[in-house]
Amino acid sequence: MELLYASCVGVLVSCGVFLLLRARTFPVVLGLTMISYAVNLFLFSAGRLTINKAVVLGTGADYADPLPQALVLTAIVIGFAMTAFVVILAIRGRADLGSDHVDGYVPNTSADNKEQK
């Protein structure tokens, strides 16, 4: 289970970073979403991966750690609000700047320069 879980988080983060580096607003938003999924999974695992453990009720030595779940809930809510904000900002940026690149214009790469020549 640990291997599956860890590779899941790893793949999500690497996809997210790749999308972030595309530097266009839509892939960037997707990338941010993927990274926040990975972060949520990761936070959840901070309470150790266990199955069949009791909740904290009454007395018992063997119970699941409730705090990471609370942290994940908070992180999900905040991440959701922030993603909504960045989507609106991206739409406004597309309208204001006339380009969906995060710099407001597509930078001249060497390939473009060759074509122009």
Binding site: V39, G47, F85, R92, L97, D103
Partner: protein, 505 residues
């Protein structure tokens, strides 16, 4: 009532912001401004009251919902955090007064957003829990995103987009760092973490180190430390100057978080992880000072210049954190108060100058002269002398204190030359900026009849912020005693742990 005092600097701005959104305030500009100003004064008064109270009684721990630490979330009001809360409330009051002169109506929701920002910043300073720090970071960030877009144009949208994306990535890294630290320490209460970090063994030490250094990335991003500083000049110079003036406190939140985490959690008591961030902080801080000074020299307009001044001050503050001794921390606090107030004043001055110079704005080229050359000129000279650290004003005291605090350490060999040459570079850049703005004219005075005089509120705020500088010198004795007390309290780690974990009310 008095035991709830520590929670009021957070609750009051929240209440105000909500009231400001409701009908009587939402509709009429006059009522909105009045309520906003009155409540900002109330917040400031509460902060001062808390400051006096803490100074008399020592650390005040407020357990939210009466769940005692480390199980519940606590607010910890010690001398350091209340000092910063007072500074924030003062700056917020300044921004609200200045905005009420007309800037607030150029976009929507200026007043509620400023109060939300104050709520976030005050919360970040007061909280005693790392996850709660993250939550308050997000509160202040979302308010800052919206304020950044206030009365914005295209340039603004671009800067805001980059700022938002950068900070969202920063938040993810923050959460990963917190997850690792919770995984190994089993707690997120700062005092409890400080206690448990020395008991780590084996692989957990390295995991905690990784988590702690991930937090360093986030704090460096918020505080604009060298490799992560690139967002700052663009963001601050494209925001409305009154918003930029308010943002002067936001880099200090990053600096405060570094100070708290790397002094208390990973400080002298941390066993294997003792002073683990120190080498990083030291090198990056020196580099930030140098890069900031180059930016100041190269700046083409007054707002860019001021943004780079903020960078220089962040570098200086972080260098002092890296020294990790009581005297350096006290000097840091004095310099932090002084630099926040004066950079806010400079941003506001840049606004007035650019309004009165018409088309050329605050660019450093010859243009028509400002309409009130005497008033703005004198303010500029005072601000410039303060920033550079010339004798009669607070910059000088701060500078001497910093130099004295670093004198006995081996790092002085590197820090002194860098710091002194930087001050000289700032002096050159600011004198050049001043002469260009106020003395080089292309045309006669009569041509600027169309621009209005500065609003009395705007002038009051700028003079008020600048007046803090001589006040910091005149009341230097009690103020430096307070700073030393705050620094001693911060470095007394076991005392802090006892107060939080056993003395919760």
């Amino acid at each position: 009532m008095i035991q709830h005092l520590a929670s009021l600097p957070i609750l009051l701005p929240m209440l105000t912001a909500v009231i400001l959104l409701l009908p009587p305030c939402g509709k009429s500009v006059k009522i909105r401004r009045l309520v906003s100003i009155v409540m900002a004064i109330a917040t400031f008064a509460i902060s001062v009251l808390l400051l006096v109270h803490i100074n008399n009684t020592g650390i005040n721990v407020y357990a939210i919902g009466n769940w005692s630490a480390p199980f519940g979330i606590v607010l910890v009001a010690d001398m350091l955090s209340t000092l910063l809360v007072t500074l924030t409330s003062l700056l917020g009051l300044g921004a609200i007064l200045y905005g009420s002169a007309g800037d607030d109506e150029k976009g929507s929701f200026y007043h509620p957003l400023v109060h939300f920002l104050i709520l976030g910043v005050n919360g970040a300073f007061l909280t005693g829990d790392l996850f709660n720090l993250f939550v308050f970071f997000e509160v202040l960030l979302i308010a800052s995103y919206a304020l950044l877009m206030h009365a914005g144009d295209k340039q603004n949208t671009r800067a805001a987009l980059q700022y938002v994306i950068l900070n969202l990535v920063g938040s993810s890294v923050f959460l990963i760092g917190l997850g690792i630290l919770y995984g190994v320490l089993g707690t997120l209460n700062i005092a409890d973490m400080a206690q448990k970090v020395s008991e780590l063994t084996g692989d957990d030490v390295y995991l905690a180190k990784a988590g702690g250094l991930l937090l360093l990335i986030v704090f460096a991003l918020k505080g604009a430390l060298l490799p992560l500083h690139l967002w700052l000049p663009n963001t601050y110079s494209s925001a409305k100057p009154v918003v930029a003036a308010l943002f002067a406190i936001m880099t200090k939140v990053g600096v405060y978080a570094m100070l708290r985490v790397y002094t208390v959690i990973f400080g002298e008591q941390a066993g294997a992880l003792e002073h683990m961030a120190q080498p990083w902080l030291w090198g990056l801080a020196i580099a930030t000072i140098i890069v900031g000074a180059i930016g100041v020299m190269a700046a083409q307009d007054l707002r860019k210049l001021t943004s780079n001044l903020v960078l220089v001050s962040v570098g200086t503050l972080v260098a002092l954190i890296a020294l990790q001794n009581v005297n350096a921390t006290a000097a840091l606090l004095y310099y932090l108060v002084h630099s926040t107030l004066v950079s806010a004043a400079l941003f506001l001055l840049a606004d007035l100058v650019s309004i009165q110079r018409g088309k050329v704005g605050d660019r450093l080229v010859a243009g028509r002269c400002v309409k009130q050359p005497f008033l703005l000129g004198v303010c500029f000279i005072v601000a410039a002398l303060t920033v550079v650290g010339m004798p009669p004003l607070s910059g000088f005291v701060g500078k001497i204190w910093i130099l004295k605090a670093t004198l006995n350490s081996e790092q002085a060999l590197l820090f002194w030359p860098v710091y002194l040459v930087t001050s000289f570079a700032l002096l050159v850049a600011l004198s050049r900026a001043g002469t260009t703005l106020f003395w080089e004219h292309k045309s006669k005075k009569s041509e600027n009849a169309d621009s209005a005089n500065a609003h009395p509120l705007q002038v009051t705020v700028i003079i008020g912020l600048l007046a803090c500088s001589p006040l910091l010198v005149i009341f230097g004795g009690p103020i430096s005693d307070y700073m030393l007390g705050a620094a001693t309290q911060l470095h007394d780690i076991s005392g802090g742990i006892n107060a939080v974990l056993k003395g919760g009310m």
